[in-house]
């Protein structure tokens, strides 16, 4: 029975890991045509080209990091502070309902709606434009995420600090932010992922001028360049894996 369990477990692990392994294999290959069992070339050629500028992948990786970090940091911080205002507001229900508005439309349709305004203010096809557009998607998520944090107990904490002689700054820096640290890390992680894998909105607002890694993956797949596609997928996986490790190491273990 235990042997069967062990086999089932290994089969499960292999099924999960195989796509990642295959992506890595593809990224190291070229000229692999049917019916050849193995690729004609197997080595670091594709990866060396990443270091160079031929494919633009290194730049895409860098610009994706800049965009996602900007979106995650601003959405997490502003979401934390503004969700407090929303949660304690008399019209909390209405404000919360409005928070869901960006998710009613498909990202592509939402992007098309935004494009007029972005054109008018001159940020269409720019990195700043993509950051703002993605922020508009990530910020409501952060608002909804933090809404569960603000409750009667937290309000009591705030009042307690106040009667102990603390001002607003003390309340946030010494009590609320340390108490919300774990949640903030998780929110940062989630909003980073929202931005990192965003395609529809980025392709419309970026109009091909802002080529994030996710956009690149789709371009390579459209061009039937599987090797570069696989390589960009490998690059695409690295930051989320790092974030998952950080979250597991420093956040989830403490939350649980």
């Amino acid at each position: 029975m235990s042997k069967l369990k062990s086999i089932a477990l290994w089969a499960y692990v292999v099924a999960i890991m195989f796509p990642f392994f295959f992506l890595l294999l593809l990224s190291l290959s070229s000229d692999w045509r049917y019916p050849a069992l193995l690729p004609e070339y197997f080595g670091l050629k594709n990866w060396v080209q990443v270091v160079g500028t031929e494919s633009g992948l290194a730049y895409s990786f860098f610009i994706s990091l800049v965009i996602s970090l900007s979106v995650a940091v601003t959405a997490t911080l502003s979401g934390f502070f503004i969700s407090r205002y929303v949660s304690y507001h008399k019209k909390k229900g209405l404000l919360t309902m409005l928070t869901y508005f960006p998710y009613i439309l498909a990202p592509v349709v939402f992007g098309a709606c935004l494009s007029y305004y972005f054109l008018r203010i001159g940020i269409f096809g720019t990195t700043a434009g993509v950051i703002i557009a993605q922020f508009i998607i990530a910020f409501p998520y952060a608002l909804i995420f933090f809404s569960s944090f603000w409750n009667e107990k937290i309000k009591n904490y705030e009042n307690l600090v106040s009667t102990l002689g603390g001002n607003r700054w003390t309340t946030f820096t010494k009590v609320l932010l340390p108490m919300a640290k774990g949640l903030m890390m998780v929110c940062f992680f989630q909003t980073f992922l929202i931005s990192w894998f965003e395609y529809g909105l980025t392709s419309i607002i970026g109009v091909g001028k802002v080529q994030t890694l996710t956009i690149k993956v789709f371009l390579f797949i459209k061009e039937a360049n599987f090797y570069y596609g696989a390589m960009s997928c490998c690059l695409l996986i690295i930051p989320p894996v790092v974030l998952i490790y950080i979250n597991k190491r420093f956040v989830f273990n403490k939350l649980i």
């Binding site: 307690l160 009667t163 010494k174 340390p178 108490m179």
Partner: protein, 240 residues
């Protein structure tokens, strides 16, 4: 009088929660207030602490009008039923919190907190985190955190409400000792009849937003509304 409250009223919409509140209290005395849930006692305490703004009336502490003073500068500490210990700080730092806010030097903080820990009978617990403490220990830390700031007035909102009977009895004794040692002036709100009688130098009862302060404990016992007579009759009948 040290604490003077005159004609304070508070309504939420059409509902009057505190009606014509009048209280006088000498320094270093405890006024215990008996009241059922929803009678307006928490709102009353929050008004005194500055957390709720009254519709009318006046409030002075040691001759100084308080209604215009923000909560952080009143030197009135409001303790909730829940201990509300900061989960990211250990026992030492929880107790030291008020002193740290006032930017008091480390040496003084250390000696005062260590003394307070001894007074709270929490020796050896300084490095523990709140989740490692029992309910009674948590409530002690909460007391220590408030008392160490030397508040002019301490407001206690059913502080032992969530404790079991044995721990509650110990905590009542501890509070009496601390109140005497640190010369605390306090309002002690409870819904427990016996606790109200035990804890207060003076006693009052709140009902539907109206506070009635008794001239002494006998007057409280004699009043049929307080429920003391009913309780006595019950026990007499039980004893046969």
């Amino acid at each position: 009088m040290f604490l003077e409250i005159e004609n304070i009223n508070k309504s939420f919409g059409d509902e009057s929660v505190v009606i014509d509140l009048n209280v006088s209290l000498e320094q270093h005395k405890t006024l215990s207030i008996l009241g059922k849930s929803g009678c307006g006692k928490t709102t009353m305490l929050k008004i005194i602490a500055g957390l709720v703004v009254p519709d009318s009336g006046s409030l002075s502490l040691d001759g100084r009008s308080m209604l215009e003073v923000e909560p952080a500068k009143r030197n009135i500490v409001y303790l909730y039923q829940e201990d509300l210990l900061f989960p990211h700080l250990n026992v030492f730092e929880n107790i030291a919190f008020g002193l740290r806010i006032k930017k008091i030097g480390n040496v003084i903080v250390k000696s005062q907190v260590e003394e307070m820990i001894a007074n709270l009978e929490l020796e050896g617990q300084a490095d523990k985190m709140p989740h490692q403490l029992s309910g009674g220990q948590r409530q002690r830390v909460s007391f220590g955190r408030a008392i160490i700031t030397n508040p002019s007035l301490l407001l206690l909102d059913e502080p032992f409400g969530s404790l079991d009977a044995g721990t509650r009895k110990n905590m009542q004794g501890l509070f009496r000792r601390l109140a005497e040692k640190f010369s605390i002036t306090s309002l002690f709100v409870t819904h427990d009849l016996k606790e109200a009688i035990l804890m207060g130098d003076e006693i009052a009862m709140m009902e539907s937003g109206n506070l009635k302060v008794y001239k002494d404990k006998m007057a409280f016992v004699e009043d049929s509304n307080t429920g003391v007579k009913e309780e006595l009759t019950f026990w007499k009948e039980m004893m046969g």
